[in-house]
Symmetry: C2
Subunit: 237 residues, 2 copies
């Protein structure tokens, strides 16, 4: 099993890397010409937004707060987005894109091994959400309270992850490795275990729980629930 340090997503998940791709997806909204200027300021804007919004909510963050925190002026901000709602959407779709990119590319050599695929998915999800913790907290907290497009995107992303889990479980059942009464229901129950890592991150930090340990715990918990009793006898591997 891997560790957070070994975790290689094949994607740059740093603030700069994420904002570079954010800029590419929104060239027609960001009115700044020089990419290095745009990316640098987007990074400060997003960083500040995540910090303030995760403390008191996106709605309660005023653009004056954001201007002060990011070092730009009120008017300056509007060269980077055309409204507060657009800023929200930019952040939300950056999270969704990261999920697609990272979880959508499992190592091909695991294809025939449902147990390994499940471990990889759970572990990678924990490490991904650890690397982008403020982004995921933001998306989780704000997606519900905002306009239809945002809600839909969040729902779709959530269901996509659930479908990945369900797919692995179904494969495992077909191969006789797992025993699961209801694949859809079980997948639905696994999802909140993954979300808890970033939703309650501060609780786990306070308790000194590392990402590695959390991933191990979730894997053990889920595997116990899907492994046929016969394979779990104390003498089995």
């Amino acid at each position: 099993m891997g560790t957070l340090n070994e975790f290689q997503s094949g994607r740059d998940l740093s603030m700069e890397g994420l904002c570079t791709r954010l800029l590419e997806r929104h060239r027609e909204i960001v009115r700044i010409k020089k990419p290095h200027v745009a990316v640098a300021n987007l990074a400060r804007i997003v960083e500040t937004t995540l910090t303030i919004a995760n403390r008191k909510g996106f709605h309660s963050m005023s653009l004056r707060d954001l201007a002060e925190g990011s070092g730009l002026s009120m008017g300056g901000l509007y060269a980077y987005f055309d409204g507060k709602e657009t800023l929200l959407m930019m952040i939300l779709d950056t999270v969704a894109a990261a999920v697609d990119e990272v979880l959508g590319a499992p190592p091909p050599d695991l294809a025939g091994d449902p147990r390994a695929r499940l471990r990889w998915l759970l572990e990678t999800h924990v490490y991904l959400t650890e690397a982008m913790q403020p982004w995921f907290t933001f998306a989780y907290m704000e997606a519900k309270a905002f306009p239809q497009a945002g809600r839909d995107a969040a729902t779709r992303s959530e269901l996509a992850t659930e479908a990945l889990i369900a797919d692995i479980l179904a494969d495992g059942v077909a191969r006789g490795v797992f025993r699961v009464a209801d694949v859809t229901m079980t997948a639905a129950l696994v999802k909140p275990l993954l979300q808890d890592w970033y939703v309650k991150r501060s609780k786990y930090r306070r308790r000194g729980v590392t990402p590695e340990r959390y991933a191990r715990s979730v894997i053990a918990f889920v595997e116990a629930a899907v492994t046929p009793p016969a394979d779990r006898s104390p003498t089995a591997p």
Copy 2:
């Protein structure tokens, strides 16, 4: 195992019953003298608040929205609370009180049976949150974004429930009924399974999942994770 219909909490969880107790706890704030008038209008105020806030967030609900929805005027509302924030607190502490009252009173005859206690707790939690679903959704969504006192209350309530789970697990381990590597960690993982029921209620409704079935699934999932392998062999009961 019980069903939602048989579920008797020993407390009136109807809107009227809850608002009656809410009024008792806040007599010095509610300036309406006649209890039957106060309770009736509080019920309409709270009902409207939960509906609007769960759709677009408490912060985005204006008191004009609330006045229109509840049938009172702007000024009239202020006879029932002394500010928007107080209204929030009234609702949050009603939820906390209900949790204490219902989960704090397990059937005494289960005392010696950790497995039965665990089942009762999980089942009762699902039924309680089903009966007060809009209240719990509201508390979950709004507690974080609001003032210190609210955050603290939410954290304390959350940890209290977790402690109830941990207590049962520890008892089960001591009696050799459960096998759990880390009681605190496992309790932490059970909590989000219970929260998912009201946080994602609409998803489960869309899929036709009943409270009974959800409770059964969670119980099966958790029991698989805490039952020693030996007791799970196909020949065991």
